[in-house]
C-alpha cells in the first residue's frame, strides 16, 4: 500500500511578471521499504514536488495524500514533525546545537526529553557510522559527509515512515556520496522507510528501487 500518493498535482509560481507551472498534473505513489529516485534536468520540478511531499507548501491543484489523508486537510506542522523527514543538500543543521542536540531536537518536539533522547541520539549517530566523539561537537566542526550523516540521523530520529532527500550528495565527494546512499538504501530496505531522493546523479538513480523522471513539470514514463 502506498504511503504517499500524488494525484494530479499542479504547482504554479506566480509573480506580477509571469506565471510558471513548476508541476503540471503529476501523479505518482510511494510505498514503504522502497527507495525512489526523482531525476530530471534543472527546473523540471523535482525539488518542488519534494517540497510539496515534505509539507513545506501545498499544491495549487490536485492533492497529496499521506496514508490516505490529503496534506491540505491536516496540520502541516504536525505532518512535518511526525510524518515527513527531509534531508537537504546543504545539511541544514542548527549551528548553535551540538550534534547530539541536533538529533534530539525533533524528538523533543515530540515529547522525548533528557537522557532518553540523548541515548537515542547516540544510538542513531552510531547507526549512521559516526563515532561517539562527535556527539558534543558543533556542526561547523564536522566535514560535509559527517554533517550529512548527522542530518540523516536527525531524520531518523523523527521516527517517520517517509524520508525525503533533496540532492543529499550534491555537496559531497564520491566516497561520502556512496556512504550516504548506502545508508539511505539500508533505511529503505532494512528499516522499511519510504525514501524519496531527488538527484542528478545517475549512479544513485541506478541503485534506486524505482526512478521517476521529470520533464517540464510532468512525470516521464516510469522505469524500474
Amino acid at each position: 500500500m502506498s504511503i504517499l500518493e500524488v494525484h494530479g498535482v499542479t504547482y504554479r509560481y506566480e509573480n506580477k511578471y509571469q506565471t510558471v507551472n513548476a508541476l503540471n498534473g503529476v501523479d505518482c505513489a510511494f510505498e514503504e521499504g522502497q527507495l525512489y529516485a526523482l531525476v530530471g534536468k534543472s527546473g523540471s520540478g523535482k525539488s518542488t514536488l519534494l517540497s510539496l511531499m515534505a509539507g513545506l507548501m501545498l499544491p495549487t491543484e490536485g492533492e497529496i495524500l499521506f496514508e490516505g489523508k490529503a496534506t491540505a486537510s491536516i496540520n502541516l506542522n504536525r505532518y512535518r514533525r511526525e510524518n515527513a523527514a527531509v534531508i537537504y543538500q546543504s545539511f541544514r543543521l542548527l549551528p548553535l546545537l551540538t550534534v547530539s542536540e541536533n538529533v534530539t531536537y525533533p524528538m523533543e518536539l515530540r515529547g522525548f526529553k533528557g537522557k532518553q533522547a540523548r541515548e537515542k541520539a547516540a544510538e542513531l549517530i552510531a547507526r549512521v557510522g559516526l563515532p561517539e566523539t562527535v556527539l558534543n561537537r558543533f556542526p561547523d566542526m564536522l566535514s560535509g559527509g559527517e554533517q550529512q550523516r548527522v542530518a540523516v540521523a536527525r531524520a531518523m530520529s523523527m521516527d517517520t515512515k517517509l524520508l525525503l532527500a533533496d540532492e543529499p550528495t550534491g555537496n559531497l565527494d564520491t566516497e561520502n556520496s556512496r556512504l550516504i546512499i548506502d545508508l539511505l538504501l539500508k533505511l529503505a530496505h532494512e528499516d522499511g522507510y519510504c525514501v524519496v531522493v531527488v538527484t542528478h546523479d545517475l549512479d544513485i538513480a541506478a541503485r534506486a528501487d524505482r526512478v521517476f523522471r521529470m520533464r517540464d513539470g510532468k512525470l516521464a514514463p516510469e522505469e524500474s
Partner: protein
C-alpha cells in the same frame, strides 16, 4: 571602463533596490550635513566669541597713597623694582597676549585747563603784590605787580589779601612775593581776592620783596611745578585703544571720530584722542588741532627735574571719548611700540595692563599669585566671555553628540548598505572572479555602482541639508541671541554680557563637501571591504575543504537544559559574540538615555530651581525726588508688601555707596587719614572708588537683590558667620517712650560691630583672611547730593562665593520697626558709620513720625535712603497680582537706570526673559533629544530586525522540522528580550554606580527601547514565518 559600465547597468536594472539605497544614502547625507553644519556653526560662534571678547587685567599697586592718581609713590617704585623679574615672567606667561605698561608721560598745552576747575590746584598762584592800605590788622588791599604763576594773568589787578596763617606781619607800602589761592572777584570785576593765603608746595606763604634770589628760588620752583600740574594732562601711548581698561570696561566710549589709517600711523602722524569734557570746554572738534609739548617722565611727574621734552607740535583730534569723568584730560596717542615700553614707576597706582587669552583667567591669577602678596592687585574683566561661551560650549557638546550619533548612523547605514549591496550580488562577484576577472575589475564593477548611488544620495542629502539648515540655524540664532544680552541662565558666572554678538553662521560649501566626502570614503571603503571579502571567502573555503581543515575546534558540554525555551537558552549561552554585541548595545543605549535625560532633567531642574528661588527684586529709590527735596520716599508700601502673603524671604537692602579695600591693618594699627591736597585729588579718588566694588547694607547676603538672578538664586557662603548670624550679630532692641505721645515703643537697632562679608576672589587677590581688620575707602553721595569719601575699618566676618566679576562688600543692616498705635513706621538704622574711630557717620537717616508726616504734607513721600527690598513670591503664578498691588501702591514699572523717573520697583523683565528663554532652550534641547531618541529607536528597530533576519535559515530549518510557530517566536523573542534586558539593566547599574541619579525618564526610555527592540524582533519573526521563508532552505551558503 567595461566593468564600470556594467556596474552602472546593474544599478539601473534593479530600480527598486537602487531607489532604496539612494533613499538610505540621502537620509544619511542629510543627517551628516545638518550635524556637520550645526557643529561647524557652534564652533564658529565660539571662535567669534574669542575674537569678539577681550580679557584685560589691570595691575595696580595698593600703596600708601592709593587710590590717588596724581601722587608718585616711592613704595610703588620699590615694589616694582623688587618684583621686576616676577612681572617680566608674568608678561611672558602663556596666558598673556600683550602687555602695556602705564604711560609715564605728560603733555603740556597752553590750551589745557583754562576753563575748568578740575585741575589739581585751580586757584593756586604765585604773585608779587604791593600793599597800599588795610581794612584792619588782618586784611589789606594791594596791586599785583607780577604773576609768577597763575592760570589767569592777574597782573595789574587790585587784590584783597589776608595775613598769612603763620602770623607773618604785613606792612602797607611794601611789596611781597605771595603764594596762595586766589580768585577773581565776580562782584568787583577787575579785583582779585585771596581765600587761602597759605603755603603751596612747601613754599612760604609770603616773603618781602628783595629777599634775595635764594629766598625767591622756592617760589619759582613752585611756579614751575604748578605749571606742570595745572597745565598738563597724562598721555597714554597705546597699540589698541579699545583694550585700555576703562574703554574695555565700557566706562568710556568713543563717540565720534574718524578712521586712523595705517598710512598715517606709518608716517607717525600727530593725532590724538581726547575726552568729551576737554573738547567741550575748549570748543574743539574732530579734525581740530591742539598744540602739545610731550614730556617723558622718570619718577615723579610733577617734579620738572624728572621731565624730558620728547615731542611738540600740533596734534589733530581724531576721536572724542564720552563718559570719561574720571579721565577728563587723558590723551591717547597711537603707538604700537607702547607695548614694549620700559616698566617704570609712575604717578598713581596703575602699573599697566595685560591682555589675556580668553578663558585663561584662572591660570593667569595662579601665575600672578606671588605678586598679589606684595601689595599688587589685579582687576580682571572678560567682558562676559565666560557667560557667552559657557552655554554655547554646552551646545557644542550636544552638537558633538549629535554629530557622533549621525556618524554612527552613517557608519551603520553605509556598512549595511554595502553589505546588502554586495551580498545580494555575491554570486556575481564570485562568478566574475572565477571567470578570470581580476580583483580590480570586480572592485570597479561594484564601486562604480556604489559611488553612483552615493553621489546621487549626497547631492539629494545636501539639498535637504540646505533646506533644513535655515530652520535649524534659525532656532540656534534665537538660542544664541539670548546670550548676547544679560541673560544668565545656565551660566555659573554672572558676568553681564552687554554687547550684542550675533550668531550668524555663513553657508559653507566645505561642510557639504565634508559630508559628501565622508559618504564617498565610507562607501568606497565598505564596498571594497565586502567585495574583497566575498572573493577571499570563496578562496579560503575551497582551501579549507581541500586541506580537510575544520574552522573551529570547540566542544560543548552536555546540556541539561530542556523545555520550551531550551533553544533560546542554548543560543544565549553559545552565541557569545552576538550576545556580547547586543549587551553592549543595551548598555550603551541605557547610558545614552541616562545621559540625555539627566541633561534635560538638569535643565528642567535648573528652571524649577530658578523659579523656586525667583525673587523679584525691588529697589524703591527716589533719586530724582531726593535730589530736589533732600527728603526720602515713603517706605511703607515696601514694608506693607513685605508683610503681605504675596511675598516671603524678604531682604531689606541699602545701597551704601562704593568701597575700595585698601589694606589689612596690623593689630592695633589705625588707618592713616590723609587729608586731600586738592579738589582734583578728592574728585579723582572719589570717582576711582565709585568705579570699584559696591558697598551694600543688607539683612541677608544670600537673598540680596544684587545677586538675585544668579544660577543658584543666591550666593554661596564659604566660611565665617552664617548668613543668619551675620545679621543677628547687629540687632538689639531698645524700649523707649514715643516722644510725641509718651506711649511705650520698641525699636530694633542696628548697632553691631563693624563687620563685613567679602567675596572670596577679593580676599584671595588682596591676601585678606577671615578675622582681619581692613582699611577701606568708601564713597557715597549724601542727601544733599554732596560726594562723601571716608576711611572705614571693618572686621571680615564672612566670605562668600560671588559670581565672577562681582565684588560687592556687604555689611549687615536691618530695617527698624517701631510699632505705634495702629500704624507701623519703618525707620532706617540710626547709624551707618560702623566704627567708633570714624568720624564719618551719615547724619540723618533716622526719621521720626513727625518728619514722615512733614514730608508728606509738602507732597513728597518720606523715604528710605537708597533702600530696597528683595523678596520671593510665595507663588510665582501670583506675579500679576503682585503687579497690581504695586501699581496700587503707586509704584511704577520703570527701570532705575533712568534717573529722571521716580521709582524702580520690580524687575521682572529679567525673570520673565530668563524663564522664557530657559523654556525655549529646554524646548529646543527636548526637540533635539527627541530626534536622538527617535534615531536610537530606528537604529534599535533596524538592528533587532537584522539580527532576527540573519537567522532566517535557522528559523526555516526549525519550521521544516515541524517546530510550532509559537515555539519559534517564543524562543527567538525570549532571546532578544533577555539579551537586551540584561544589557539595558547593566546600563542602568552603571548609571547608578557612577553616582548619577536614576531618572524616571531614563527608565521609561529604556523600557521603550526594549519595547521597540522586542516589537521589531516580533514583527520580523511573524513576517518571517510565512511559507516563502522555506526558500532559505535552498539558498546557497
Amino acid at each position: 571602463m567595461q566593468a564600470a559600465r556594467n556596474g552602472l547597468k546593474s544599478a539601473v536594472r534593479t530600480p527598486g533596490k537602487t531607489l532604496l539605497f539612494v533613499l538610505i544614502l540621502t537620509v544619511t547625507a542629510a543627517l551628516l550635513t545638518v550635524s556637520c553644519c550645526v557643529f561647524g556653526a557652534v564652533r564658529g560662534y565660539l571662535g567669534n566669541c574669542n575674537d569678539y571678547f577681550r580679557t584685560i587685567a589691570e595691575l595696580e599697586y595698593m600703596g600708601q597713597n592709593y587710590p590717588d592718581q596724581a601722587v608718585f609713590d616711592e613704595g610703588c617704585a620699590a615694589a616694582l623694582e623688587a618684583n621686576r623679574d616676577t612681572i617680566s615672567a608674568l608678561i611672558a606667561s602663556d596666558s598673556v597676549l600683550a602687555w602695556e605698561p602705564a604711560s609715564a608721560d605728560l603733555m603740556i598745552s597752553p590750551l589745557i585747563h583754562r576753563k575748568d576747575n578740575t585741575v589739581p590746584d585751580p586757584d593756586a598762584a604765585i604773585l608779587r603784590i604791593r600793599l597800599y592800605n588795610s581794612y584792619d590788622s588782618d586784611s589789606f588791599n594791594g596791586l599785583v605787580t607780577e604773576t609768577l604763576y597763575s592760570r589767569k594773568d592777574h597782573t595789574n589787578l587790585l587784590i584783597t589779601i589776608l595775613t598769612p596763617a603763620d602770623g607773618t606781619k604785613l606792612e602797607v607800602g611794601k611789596t611781597y612775593l605771595m603764594a596762595g589761592r586766589f580768585f577773581r572777584n565776580i562782584f568787583q570785576p577787575g579785583k582779585v581776592s585771596v581765600y587761602e593765603n597759605d603755603r603751596i608746595n612747601d613754599v612760604p606763604a609770603v616773603i618781602p620783596d628783595g629777599s634775595g634770589e635764594e629766598a625767591e628760588a622756592p617760589f619759582r620752583r613752585s611756579a614751575e611745578l604748578l605749571h606742570v600740574k595745572n597745565d598738563s594732562c597724562r598721555v597714554t601711548y597705546t597699540a589698541a585703544i579699545e583694550d585700555l581698561y576703562p574703554i574695555h570696561q565700557q566706562v568710556m566710549f568713543l563717540t565720534e571720530g574718524r578712521f586712523f589709517t595705517q598710512a598715517e600711523y606709518d608716517a607717525k602722524a600727530k593725532v590724538c584722542v581726547v575726552s568729551e569734557k576737554a573738547a567741550g570746554l575748549l570748543m574743539l572738534h574732530v579734525g581740530d588741532k591742539i598744540p602739545f609739548t610731550v614730556f617723558h617722565g622718570n619718577g615723579d611727574l610733577y617734579n620738572t627735574a624728572n621731565l624730558t621734552e620728547t615731542d611738540s607740535g600740533e596734534y589733530e583730534i581724531i576721536g572724542i571719548l564720552s563718559h570719561a569723568d574720571a579721565y577728563p584730560y587723558w590723551v591717547f596717542l597711537p603707538d604700537a611700540a607702547a607695548a614694549n615700553a620700559e616698566l617704570r614707576p609712575v604717578n598713581g597706582y596703575s602699573i599697566g595692563q595685560f591682555r589675556l587669552k580668553n578663558g585663561q583667567v584662572s591660570a593667569f591669577l595662579d601665575a600672578a599669585a606671588p605678586l598679589l602678596k606684595q601689595g599688587f592687585r589685579l582687576n580682571v574683566y572678560d567682558q562676559g566671555y565666560a557667560a557667552a561661551t559657557e552655554p554655547m560650549e554646552e551646545l557644542l557638546f550636544l552638537s558633538v553628540v549629535f554629530l557622533a550619533v549621525c556618524l554612527l548612523l552613517a557608519f551603520c547605514a553605509m556598512s549595511l548598505q554595502s553589505h546588502i549591496f554586495i551580498s545580494r550580488q555575491r554570486e556575481t562577484a564570485r562568478t566574475m572572479y572565477a571567470l578570470g576577472s581580476g580583483k580590480k575589475h570586480v572592485c570597479v564593477y561594484f564601486l562604480t555602482a556604489a559611488l553612483a548611488l552615493t553621489l546621487v544620495g549626497a547631492v539629494l542629502g545636501a539639498v535637504i541639508g540646505i533646506l533644513a539648515e535655515d530652520g535649524v540655524f534659525g532656532i540656534m540664532r534665537r538660542f544664541a541671541s539670548q546670550y548676547a544680552t544679560q541673560d544668565l541662565r545656565f551660566s555659573a558666572t554672572r558676568l553681564a554680557v552687554t554687547r550684542t554678538l550675533n550668531f550668524d553662521p555663513v553657508f559653507s560649501a566645505g561642510t557639504y563637501l565634508l559630508a559628501a566626502g565622508i559618504l564617498v570614503v565610507g562607501t568606497t571603503a565598505f564596498t571594497l571591504f565586502f567585495t574583497l571579502g566575498a572573493m577571499k571567502k570563496r578562496k579560503n573555503a575551497s582551501k579549507k575543504k581541500s586541506a580537510g581543515q575544520r574552522p573551529h575546534k570547540r566542544v560543548a558540554r552536555v546540556s541539561r537544559l530542556s523545555g520550551f525555551f531550551k533553544y533560546a537558552l542554548l543560543s544565549l549561552r553559545r552565541s557569545r559574540a552576538r550576545a556580547g554585541a547586543v549587551l553592549l548595545l543595551g548598555l550603551a543605549a541605557a547610558l545614552f538615555f541616562g545621559q540625555l535625560t539627566a541633561s534635560l532633567d538638569g535643565y528642567r531642574e535648573q528652571l524649577a530651581a530658578y523659579r523656586a528661588n525667583a525673587a523679584l527684586s525691588g529697589t524703591a529709590t527716589d533719586y530724582y525726588g531726593k535730589l530736589i527735596s533732600g527728603l526720602n520716599i515713603d517706605p511703607r508700601p515696601i514694608v506693607n508688601l513685605a508683610d503681605s502673603d504675596l511675598v516671603k524671604d524678604c531682604c531689606f537692602t541699602t545701597s551704601l555707596g562704593h568701597i575700595k579695600v585698601l589694606k589689612v591693618l596690623e593689630e592695633g594699627e589705625k588707618p592713616s587719614y590723609e587729608r586731600f591736597q586738592s579738589a582734583f585729588q578728592f574728585d579723582s579718588t572719589f570717582l576711582e572708588v565709585n568705579r570699584g566694588s559696591v558697598w551694600t547694607g543688607t539683612s541677608s547676603v544670600s537673598h540680596n537683590p544684587l545677586y538675585h538672578y544668579t544660577q543658584e538664586g543666591s550666593v554661596t557662603w564659604l566660611e565665617g558667620y552664617s548668613d543668619a548670624d551675620f545679621i543677628q550679630l547687629v540687632e538689639y532692641e531698645k524700649k523707649f517712650n514715643d516722644p510725641f505721645t509718651g506711649k511705650p515703643m520698641i525699636e530694633k537697632y542696628w548697632a553691631g560691630p563693624s563687620i563685613c562679608a567679602l567675596p572670596r576672589s577679593m580676599m584671595e587677590a588682596q591676601g585678606i583672611r577671615l578675622g582681619d581688620r581692613i582699611d577701606t575707602l568708601v564713597a557715597f553721595t549724601d542727601e544733599s547730593a554732596d560726594d562723601q569719601l571716608f576711611h572705614l575699618v571693618f572686621t571680615v566676618a564672612a566670605s562668600y562665593e560671588a559670581p565672577a566679576g562681582s565684588s560687592a562688600v556687604f555689611c549687615p543692616v536691618t530695617f527698624l520697626r517701631t510699632t505705634y498705635q495702629d500704624e507701623t513706621y519703618y525707620l532706617p538704622p540710626d547709624k551707618m558709620g560702623v566704627d567708633e574711630d570714624t568720624r564719618y557717620l551719615i547724619k540723618k537717616n533716622y526719621w521720626t513720625r513727625k518728619e514722615l508726616f512733614d514730608a508728606q504734607s509738602i507732597g513728597l513721600s518720606a523715604a528710605l535712603n537708597y533702600s530696597g527690598l528683595s523678596f520671593t513670591l510665595t507663588d510665582i503664578n501670583r506675579l500679576d497680582e503682585l503687579r497690581q498691588v504695586l501699581d496700587e501702591a503707586g509704584f511704577t514699572w520703570v527701570h532705575s537706570g533712568d534717573r529722571t523717573k521716580d521709582f524702580a520697583v520690580i524687575e521682572d523683565e529679567v525673570y520673565l526673559n530668563t524663564t522664557h528663554s530657559m523654556e525655549r532652550q529646554i524646548q529646543y534641547v527636548s526637540f533635539l533629544y527627541d530626534a536622538l531618541y527617535l534615531l536610537a529607536g530606528v537604529i534599535g528597530f533596524a538592528l533587532a530586525w537584522l539580527l532576527v533576519l540573519s537567522r532566517r535559515r535557522e528559523i526555516a530549518v526549525m519550521r521544516a522540522l515541524g517546530t510550532q510557530p509559537g515555539r519559534i517566536v517564543g524562543n527567538f523573542l525570549l532571546e532578544q528580550l533577555l539579551l537586551m534586558s540584561v544589557g539595558l539593566a547593566l546600563g542602568v547599574v552603571v548609571t547608578i554606580l557612577t553616582g548619577a541619579a536614576l531618572r524616571r525618564a531614563q527608565l521609561l526610555l529604556t523600557a521603550a527601547f526594549l519595547g521597540v527592540w522586542a516589537m521589531s524582533a516580533l514583527i520580523c519573526l511573524v513576517t518571517g514565518l510565512h511559507k516563502k521563508s522555506f526558500a532559505a532552505l535552498t539558498e546557497p551558503e
